[in-house]
């Protein structure tokens, strides 16, 4: 069976097309202003990559924050369930999956059979998500990628007092004023976000193996700060951290079809 999983995030749209369990096509695109159009385009792109016809797809499942805006889905699945299913597929020894996207972070506990048993999401404050890192990088005037890497070369521990994403920016500005080096600032920012995320994640009882996915999995500064925070050596990061929800959705589309 050929299925497609579409993850409509606040920042990015990701599509995966599966033939059985094999990925035959994928695509990613920013959500932009016209989300509906963007979804169609991303899907079309994935179809093209898969070298199939749109009509070859048997079932489509949508997930992500904008999942309800996509009208042609056979299944609509929350990102919690999709994320849990996806990360379990990537590595079936994972028990806790932590997804940090642009505006939301969540922790998902997965059972030995791949069922989601518990989950937690961040509060209504932006200080624990990807956009926080972005605005901090903007405050320093360097790009996100470089900013993220800088943290690795610092061993300073500067507590960031402001938890608000917006005020933290001014705190960064005053750190700059005190001639704090960029790498130490980066470290401070990543420590603070790691602390936020782990605080949220602890609500689901962090059981190993722990996995990180979503956009922030690409951020080595965060990953390292997060490991240190939880005092763990190893953390699993899937090969394509942005596509985990889409993968889960595509798999669930097949499994649900069989059930029906």
């Amino acid at each position: 069976m050929i299925s497609a999983g579409i993850d409509i995030g606040s920042k990015n749209i990701k599509v995966i097309i599966l033939n059985g369990k094999k990925t035959i096509g994928e695509a990613i695109r920013t959500s932009g202003e016209n989300q509906e159009k963007a979804v169609d385009e991303t899907l079309a792109l994935a179809v093209k990559n898969a070298k199939i016809d749109r009509s070859d797809i048997d079932k489509i499942a949508a997930t992500g924050i904008g999942r309800k805006t996509f009208k042609n889905a056979d299944y609509v699945i929350t990102d919690v369930t999709a994320g849990g299913r996806g990360i379990f597929e990537c590595n079936n020894s994972v028990r806790t999956g932590i997804e940090i996207g642009a505006e939301e972070s969540k922790a998902i506990r997965v059972s030995q059979t791949g069922k989601v048993t518990d989950s937690a999401v961040n509060e209504k404050c932006a200080a624990g998500s990807g956009s926080f890192v972005e605005s901090m990088a903007r405050a320093l005037g360097i790009n996100v990628k470089l900013f993220a890497e800088l943290a690795l070369s610092s061993d300073a521990t500067i507590p960031m007092n402001a938890q608000c994403a917006v005020f933290a920016e001014s705190e960064v500005v005053s750190l700059i004023a005190q001639n704090t080096s960029q790498k130490d600032i980066s470290k401070a920012v990543h420590d603070s976000i790691a602390s936020r995320v782990s605080s949220m994640a602890r609500r689901v009882k962090l059981e190993p193996k722990i996995a990180i996915f979503g956009g922030l999995a690409y951020n080595p500064g965060f990953v390292s700060a997060f490991k240190k925070n939880l005092e763990i050596e190893e953390i699993f990061i899937p090969e394509k951290p942005l596509f985990v929800d889409a993968l889960g959705a595509a798999l669930l589309a097949q499994e649900k079809t069989v059930e029906d």
């Binding site: 007092n161 602390s195 605080s199 602890r202 609500r203 925070n229």
Partner: protein
């Protein structure tokens, strides 16, 4: 090597070193407790709230330590206390969850507020303690039946401590403990008397360190140290007289934040008196000698019911008066106060529940006040602006 509760602030405040021992105890509280255990073979009991009748624990050869926070962001309490609980109760719990309180043998909750009660509930189940006791304390300590009830609860508490410690607390031991605690209260009060002077002889931060340390260490040690400093105090001066600046009272919920005290007094202002629980609320009023054939439990209970009450325990009398407010007013007069800093832990319902009438009351009595909301860590920059601006409103005629 210390436990770090001072966050290195001490270097900043170096003076003549008279209060160093208290700062050290404050900083090294956990190491102190561990050493105390080795030295005496006694048990260490964590106390949540100032209403714990320490006399009973002291008589049972236990060191009572007040459980306080660390003033640093933490991320371990989220699974137990969700966001609307006061930062103090969360910060304190974090100490336990992070393993810094593993030396505790027991933990006691003298009922005050729900927030702290929740901290206690988690500690009871998550810390390796042998003994945990919830001690009901009357909600309205001025109620006709409060003292009787308090005495019966102290008795029950005593019995459970006896059972735990496997020995009877005889009358002599308990009387000794009463005397020891009273001496500490008396000494602290004596030091506080000096703060009435134009030059208050000690800073608010020093007073805070002294009182808080007394809540953390063996009272014999504390008393000895206070007696020592009392020799030097009469001739001691802080700052230059003009730098004493505005005389402030700090009123509010739990507050042992040294960096705040430091920031305030860094400006042209000095804290000369306080009404909070790492201050006067804890030590004001002694038990006193035996009288009227009252039982020891009753005498102890009476003291806890008639000391200056926390907002959780203080309610309008039949004629509407608030004894807590009158007490504050008296302190303002006695200590010649220019303004009041009302500090309050964010989400602290009991204090929030007093804030509006208290502010009105103070302004009726021409005492300017500034309200500040504390979180685990303080936005010192913002607070600094507010405090400075407040000081400008009560002083700084120079600018006009």
């Amino acid at each position: 090597m210390g436990d770090g509760y001072l966050h290195g602030i001490k270097e900043d405040i170096a003076g003549d070193g008279l209060f160093d021992q208290f700062f050290e105890w404050y900083d090294d509280r956990n190491s102190y407790a561990k050493k105390w255990k080795e030295r005496t073979g006694g048990k260490v009991v964590g106390s949540l709230c100032t209403y714990t009748p320490e006399e009973v624990l002291t008589a049972a050869n236990c060191l009572t330590v007040r459980l306080l926070g660390f003033h640093e962001p933490q991320d371990v309490t989220e699974p137990y206390l969700f966001a609307m609980f006061c930062p103090f109760s969360r910060d304190t719990l974090a100490q336990g969850l992070k393993g810094k309180l593993d030396h505790l043998d027991g933990v006691v909750m003298a009922h005050s507020c729900l927030h702290l009660r929740q901290t206690y509930n988690v500690m009871k189940h998550k810390l390796p303690v042998e003994f945990a006791w919830y001690l009901p304390i009357p909600n309205n300590v001025k109620d006709k039946y409060a003292k009787e009830f308090m005495a019966s609860e102290i008795e029950r508490f005593k019995e459970s401590v006896e059972e735990w410690r496997e020995f009877k607390i005889d009358e002599n031991r308990l009387e000794d403990a009463i005397t020891l605690m009273d001496k500490n209260r008396h000494l602290l009060r004596t030091v506080y008397e000096y703060r009435k002077d134009d030059n208050p002889h000690l800073t608010g931060m020093e007073a805070l360190a002294m009182v808080t340390a007394s809540e953390l260490v063996d009272k014999h040690d504390a008393n000895r140290e206070i007696e020592k400093i009392l020799k030097y105090l009469p001739s001691r001066k802080i700052k230059t007289d003009s730098k004493v600046g505005s005389r402030l009272i700090v009123i509010g919920s739990e507050d042992d934040d040294m960096s705040f005290a430091h920031m305030v007094e860094h400006e042209d202002a000095t804290v000369v008196i306080d009404e909070h629980c790492t201050g006067t609320r804890w030590f004001w009023k002694e038990i006193g000698p035996e009288h009227d054939n009252l039982s020891q439990e009753r005498r102890i209970g009476d003291r806890y019911c008639s000391r200056p009450a926390c907002p959780t325990k203080d309610y309008a009398m039949d004629d509407g008066t608030r004894l807590r407010f009158l007490h504050i007013l008296k302190l303002c007069g006695d200590y010649n106060v220019d303004g009041a800093l009302l500090i309050q832990q964010k989400f602290c319902d009991p204090h929030e529940g007093d804030m509006v009438p208290l502010k009105e009351f103070l302004s009726e009595h021409d005492i300017p006040s500034l309200q500040l909301e504390f979180d685990v860590t303080l936005p010192l920059g913002q607070f600094k602006t507010r405090v400075e601006a407040f000081l400008e409103t009560i002083g700084e005629e120079d600018l006009f």
